[in-house]
């Protein structure tokens, strides 16, 4: 029987190794898998390369992981926001590396990794500082830049609902990078507050098919969202 559920976040992140590359879903706080990140901090892995649109805000989640000194490099599009002082301090002190990637190129590099495409050309960033040192080529009279696929050892993402196969739904703009990251990591770990009985998600509406998901944990019970008739005993 296929059942990707793990007992708790600690069990789900236990084998993440020092030096791992870790994709973290979310756009700002929307879709950030905070409980999985907390478990990763607790677990202790360091020298991580983190791939995420932002570089954490406030003092929780990714910002806490960075503050704990576990991240040696960020790959992101927008590490600067009103309350992203944790990353800024580490960066100014030379204690964290940064690969800045245009947001659409970041998304497409992740998508390409998940789809088995090793590299692609795009006009985005051609002729700018962010394309320096990259091969350029003209297509249809437009200057384009060669960009490489971006996969990872692990993806940590948050879903709004799941079944035991790992079929996922998301909530509003909390979806963002997570469906892409799920396809591009060797091990995809999902946190969700709702697990429903297999067969009760409409196949027409599933956003991430379960084949892209390896592990799931239930992180809170969000009772207002529960439908007991559709819930799996022991999870809700």
């Amino acid at each position: 029987m296929t059942d990707k559920r793990f007992a708790d976040p600690a069990a789900a992140v236990r084998d993440i190794a020092d030096g791992a590359s870790v994709m973290i879903g979310g756009f700002g706080e929307a879709g950030s898998p905070v409980e999985l990140i907390d478990a990763l901090i607790e677990q202790g892995a360091g020298d991580l390369t983190v791939i995420s649109n932002n570089a954490g805000s406030g003092t929780v989640g990714l910002a806490a992981l960075i503050k704990a000194g576990r991240v040696s490099k960020m790959i992101c599009s927008y590490p600067r926001s009103a309350d992203s002082e944790v990353f800024a301090e580490m960066y100014r002190a030379g204690r964290i590396g940064l690969e800045l990637v245009p947001q659409g190129t970041l998304a497409e590099r992740i998508r390409a990794a998940g789809a088995g495409i090793p590299a692609f050309y795009t006009p985005t960033a051609a002729g700018t500082n962010l394309a320096q040192g990259k091969p350029h080529r003209r297509f249809d009279d437009r200057e384009c830049v060669l960009e490489h696929a971006l996969g990872a050892d692990v993806a940590l993402i948050k879903a709004a609902a799941a079944d035991r196969h790992g079929n996922l739904l998301y909530n509003k703009t909390a979806r963002n990078f997570s469906p892409l990251m799920a396809t591009a990591a060797k091990t995809t770990i999902v946190q969700t507050s709702v697990v429903v009985r297999l067969g009760s998600l409409d196949p027409e509406t599933i956003v991430t098919p379960g084949i892209f998901v390896d592990r799931m944990v239930l992180t809170d019970r969000a009772p207002q969202q529960l439908d007991p008739a559709r819930s799996e005993a022991g999870w809700l």
């Binding site: 929307a30 947001q103 051609a126 509003k172």
Partner: protein
Amino acid sequence: MTPRTPQGLDRREIAHRIARDIPDGAYVNLGIGMPETVAECIPEDKEVILHTENGLLGMGPPPPPGEEDPELINAGKEPVTTVPGASFFHHADSFAMIRGGHLDICVLGALEVAANGDLANWSTGADAVPAVGGAMDLVSGVKAVYVMTRHCTRTGDPKLVAACRYPLTGRGVVNRVYTDLAVIDITPQGFAVRELAPGITLGDVTDRTAAPLHDARSIRGE
């Protein structure tokens, strides 16, 4: 002689001027900051569909206080709402809309715009932490790139220049610039003034632009 300080349009008036040029049915992305004002100025009789790159087409205005949803935000990470017909999607689809040429118009802010259409709007080159977001994708993919900006910086330096000094967002990407003083097209001949704000003379604009300006008002019979 003390040069006269021209009183051009305020931020909201520039936004209204831009909204006038956005056709009914257009799919539009508004950059963070000043361009967001355009959303408030689109007339009721036009259905303009707003895209936000974090995964929403059909973005509505901010919610009333108390009704904010932390999982329903715009690219500036501010709470928003949806309008009827809205859709959510992941980042690859969102940037397929941008990079695949499906969006009709984006309106962006600028540090500098050059006469050849180069845009600099993501970095002063001296930022403590560089950040680019979706700006380079928008300028490379959206069908029409409009810039909304004050004509000069706070210290009075022209933002419309012969060549950008700040790091580029894209080369030759801007189609039109809307400022407090004028509407200016980027043409193969450089900056071309299409329209002056009320009470503004061509000389006012020329004095505050660090590149040659062509008067294109006659071309349109204005």
